[in-house]
């Protein structure tokens, strides 16, 4: 399989967009992955599910604004160059 760096960038943008689109109260809470359900005990180490939820929430918070810029650039480039 011949990957290029451009394909990797595309994949990264698509994955980040997919994570950013998961809505907190409409979807994640319904399947038990909401933010308030992951704050369990502070003593022991969090399990994999708590880490994953933490990761999803932090990606959504951090990448929201940069994704707007990156997506706008992508849209303009795709409009210009097909």
């Amino acid at each position: 399989m011949a990957f290029t760096l451009y394909a990797l960038i595309q994949t990264a943008i698509l994955f980040t967009n997919a994570i950013a689109v998961l809505h907190e109260e409409r979807f994640l809470s319904k399947i038990g992955w909401g933010a308030e359900q992951s704050i369990g005990g502070f003593g022991d180490e969090p399990g994999i599910k708590a880490q994953l939820l933490n990761l999803i929430r932090s990606v959504r918070t951090v990448m929201r604004v940069p994704l707007i810029a990156v997506n706008s650039v992508c849209i303009v480039l795709l409009l210009l160059f097909g």
């Binding site: 399989m1 990957f3 290029t4 760096l5 394909a7 990797l8 969090p46 994999i48 880490q51």
Partner: protein
């Protein structure tokens, strides 16, 4: 390092600008990552060569005081610009940390390559520390380095071009395609390992560059396999790739075991608990991914 013999028309002009900047790399660095192998004889030759062509047009330039001024200003501007670029570059890519990974010598490279192909006799896999920082790879064979992975990557691309050339499938774009493909797979693997390390909450001192180094060690096995395939046909390729896959698997497990697992489990004692079991699975998964990648990236090269 002293520069006693730099002569020629640049010396007087440069000294004014250079002296206040100071030397960028301190030669009396206590960690001594690199040996100072520059001998006085080299400086003699270099300055002699530089002086020859510099004298004739230089004489004409020196006589004009305006161009003297312009020369001084230009050189001070260049040095100032370079210093600013160094400072800014260091913020994005930690150059000083990278230097540690390239502090290798021939003996280390030879022993490490032997260890990658035959890791069964080596018994002490711990990394030697010196006041909380790991020792440079030149003094400790277990320390990861970036020299072998980088050289292995470049050699792999060249060997891939050679293999494709023997099958009349070569074109110059193929080299670029192979290079970017292997690089993308390396990035994907490092990101996957980082993600899994984060999810399992492992408290380890493995940095990203360490992971790049460990992922890059498989290029050695791939090169051996492809060259054996070129020399001895498919049977040679399969046999040598099998041998290198097993050795890389064992090497990765033995190296990562000490970093990921807790102390007791790493020594081989059976430690109960779901956490240690999960970490063991993680180590085995990382090690098992190496042969898979080794086969995936080379099977299309040997027909």
């Amino acid at each position: 390092m002293e520069y006693p013999n730099q002569s020629g028309f640049r010396q007087r002009k440069l000294q004014a600008g250079v002296r206040m900047r100071g030397t960028p790399g301190d030669p009396r660095d206590p960690s001594l990552l690199f040996d100072d192998t520059s001998a006085g004889g080299d400086k003699h030759d270099l300055s002699g060569v530089g002086k020859g062509p510099g004298v004739c047009p230089g004489q004409a330039l020196i006589s004009d005081p305006m161009s003297n001024l312009a020369l001084a200003y230009g050189s001070s501007l260049a040095s100032h610009g370079r210093e600013m670029m160094d400072k800014n570059l260091d913020r994005f890519i930690p150059i000083s940390k990278l230097k540690y990974y390239f502090a290798v010598d021939t003996v280390y490279v030879g022993k490490k390559l032997g260890l990658l192909v035959f890791p069964y006799m080596h018994d002490n896999w711990e990394v030697i520390y010196q006041q909380d920082t790991p020792v440079a790879p030149r003094f400790d064979i277990n320390a990861p380095d970036l020299y072998i992975p980088v050289m292995g990557f470049i050699t792999y691309i060249l060997v891939a071009g050679l293999a494709l050339g023997t099958q009349n499938r070569f074109s110059p774009e193929i080299l670029g395609i192979q290079a970017s493909s292997a690089l993308v797979w390396l990035i994907i693997e490092v990101l996957a390992v980082l993600l899994s390390l984060y999810l399992v909450t492992v408290n380890t001192d493995l940095t990203t560059i360490d992971l790049v180094a460990f992922s890059g060690y498989k290029y050695v096995g791939m090169i051996v396999g492809v060259i054996a395939g070129l020399l001895f046909g498919r049977m040679g390729y399969h046999l040598s790739l099998l041998w290198c896959c097993v050795s890389t698997f064992v090497f990765t497990i033995r190296t990562l075991r000490l970093k990921i697992l807790s102390e007791a489990a790493a020594e081989g004692r059976l430690v109960r608990g779901a956490k240690n079991q999960l970490r063991m699975y993680l180590t085995m998964a990382i090690a098992a991914a190496q042969p898979v990648f080794m086969y995936w990236l080379t099977f299309h090269l040997v027909r």
